[in-house]
């Protein structure tokens, strides 16, 4: 399926709504194995993202770039450059293609490049990496996304703050994986709305 201006707006609106609702929950997850700010970081960023839609008549590429800049300059921490790099690379690609699975793949690659994480390192990449194929094969579902995030629970963190905990990071959900789960659940909602 394709990403157009309307879908992008609906997507971000749904995601913003979810993040603001789950702000405390996400920071709580981060408090368990990180520094307790992931929800606040994302909430601050998504408020800024929603502001970018005030500029009228932007192309998908322009809009994605504005979203990327909002995330990069407002989220901070690790999540800011990761989400930001994903959207920035997607915005560049969106000049040529609006194919959703391709765009998300490019975003996932950007996250891998920026953060240097591998699959199974207990990061947001453990959600992003599987989404493009699911999109391509029309198997993306809300439950499937929740599963992807849930898979981070038994993992031992190898990247980010949680990695300093060593084995103590096992048994907790990765907050970035959960916010990414919500990102793609928001996409599903936006598509079906």
């Amino acid at each position: 399926s394709m990403l157009d201006e309307t879908l992008l707006f609906k997507w971000m609106t749904e995601f913003d709504h979810q993040i603001q609702t789950d702000k405390a929950y996400l920071s709580g997850l981060d408090a368990e194995i990180g520094d307790g700010d992931h929800g606040d970081n994302m909430a601050r960023g998504m408020s800024a993202v929603m502001h970018t839609f005030k500029t009228p008549n932007q192309s998908v590429a322009e809009q994605l770039k504005a979203i990327a800049f909002a995330l990069i300059s407002k989220v901070g921490g690790a999540a800011g450059p990761l989400y930001g790099s994903a959207f920035l690379r997607m915005s560049k690609a969106a000049v040529d293609t609006q194919q959703l699975d391709q765009l998300i793949q490019i975003g996932a690659d950007a996250i891998a490049d920026r953060g240097g994480a591998n699959f199974g390192d207990k990061t947001m990449l453990d959600v992003w990496a599987y989404v493009p194929a699911m999109l391509e094969h029309h198997t993306l579902s809300s439950a499937g996304l929740a599963q992807l995030a849930a898979h981070t629970k038994p993992m031992q963190a190898k990247k980010g703050r949680a990695s300093y905990l060593g084995e103590r990071s096992v048994g907790h959900l990765d907050p970035g994986a959960v916010s990414s789960q919500e990102l793609f659940q928001a996409l599903l909602k936006a598509q079906s709305a």
């Binding site: 408090a31 520094d35 307790g36 700010d37 970081n41 800049f69 990069i72 300059s73 407002k74 989220v75 901070g76 921490g77 690790a78 999540a79 800011g80 450059p81 990761l82 930001g84 790099s85 920026r114 953060g115 031992q156 190898k158 990247k159 980010g160 703050r161 990695s163 300093y164 905990l165 060593g166 103590r168």
Partner: protein, 330 residues
């Protein structure tokens, strides 16, 4: 936990503003940022390589207190325990650049590394020469299977030594090599008696009993490698020295710099008692110390604890450490 603040969300901007208002002769705030820059005559007239650092807030006086003659050209304050964003760092790089390029001194945390890298890319688009070095002096944990070692109190030695060399005219390449060498020869471990309380949260980041202490804590309330019964200062000192010295390739001709660092709520009285134990014990081990600094230098909000840093001095580092600096906190 009570704090002398207004709204939690305003702490960082108000802190930066308070610092700049207090020391207008030394530093100025860069417009629309939480970054500050040197404003001394030597900087304005100079053609030195710029030095930029920054990171999450809560470690004051790091980094803002080390901006000035002989140390940083500019520094950026992120939200509490949260890396500053690339646009802010980029503004600091532009301010620091006098055409000779800019060295970024980054503490090794995922967020800092990535945000500084993005700022570096932005600056390079502008044809500003930028190099980055990553401080990872914390030897509490092995580097395998993690983000790598954390950057903690040793950072100020990197900032001071590189700052003095920059003031003396070293090139960007020389400074990057020098800074990396300092990092390679600098090791730190911290301990806490009480964890820090992050503003807005009303309890310490982790619980320690009235007779417990934690070995190997980080400056963002990261727990360490062991929770033990409270020990006398001399015992703590000996333990940390063992750990740290085991990470050096020791030579009989070695000379060391020592930093005893209070983590925010530790009275100087305790820091000096601890320094006394460290220096007495190092002397007993025939470890020669030629430079010492004691104080709240790199903090973890209101953590009660100390860290110990040793730097195996090379070449002219001792001279660079003692070179004049005019900053708020050095």
């Amino acid at each position: 936990m009570k704090k002398i603040i207004n709204a939690v969300a305003d702490i960082v901007p108000e802190m930066v503003s308070g610092l700049v208002k207090s020391y207008p002769q030394l530093v100025a705030q860069l417009p629309n940022t939480q970054a500050i820059g040197r404003r001394d005559a030597a900087f304005k007239a100079g053609h030195q390589v710029g030095l930029v650092s920054g990171g999450g807030s809560g470690h004051e006086p790091l980094h803002l207190g080390y901006v000035g003659l002989g140390m940083l050209s500019a520094a950026v304050a992120g939200q509490i325990n949260t890396s500053p964003t690339p646009d802010q760092i980029y503004a600091a790089i532009r301010y620091a650049d006098h055409g000779a390029g800019v060295l970024l001194i980054v503490k090794n945390y995922a967020g800092d590394v990535m945000n500084f890298a993005m700022a570096q890319e932005l600056a390079e688009y502008d044809d500003i020469q930028v190099k980055a070095i990553t401080v990872d002096d914390d030897v509490a944990f092995d580097a395998t299977d993690t983000q790598g070692r954390r950057g903690v109190a040793g950072t100020i030695l990197v900032e001071k030594i590189c700052g003095a060399a920059a003031e003396a005219g070293a090139s960007l390449d020389e400074l990057a090599a020098l800074g990396q060498a300092v990092i390679d020869h600098t090791k730190t471990i911290g301990i806490a008696l009480t964890a820090a309380t992050v503003p807005g949260v009303d309890h310490p980041g982790f619980e320690l009993q009235a007779d417990e202490m934690e070995y190997g804590v980080g400056i963002h309330n990261e727990r360490g490698y062991a929770t033990e019964k409270m020990a006398p200062s001399a015992t703590i000192a000996a333990h940390l020295e063992d750990k740290i010295l085991g990470n050096f390739d020791l030579q009989t001709t070695d000379e060391f710099a020592v930093v005893v660092n209070g983590l925010g709520a530790t009275p100087l009285m305790e820091q000096y008692v601890f320094a006394n134990d460290v220096l007495a014990d190092l002397a007993k081990r025939d470890v020669k110390v030629t430079f010492t600094k004691v104080g709240n230098l790199v903090t973890a909000i209101d953590m009660h604890g100390v860290s110990l840093t040793l730097c195996q001095l090379q070449d002219n580092w001792h001279t660079l450490l003692n070179a004049p600096a005019n900053t708020i906190a050095w």
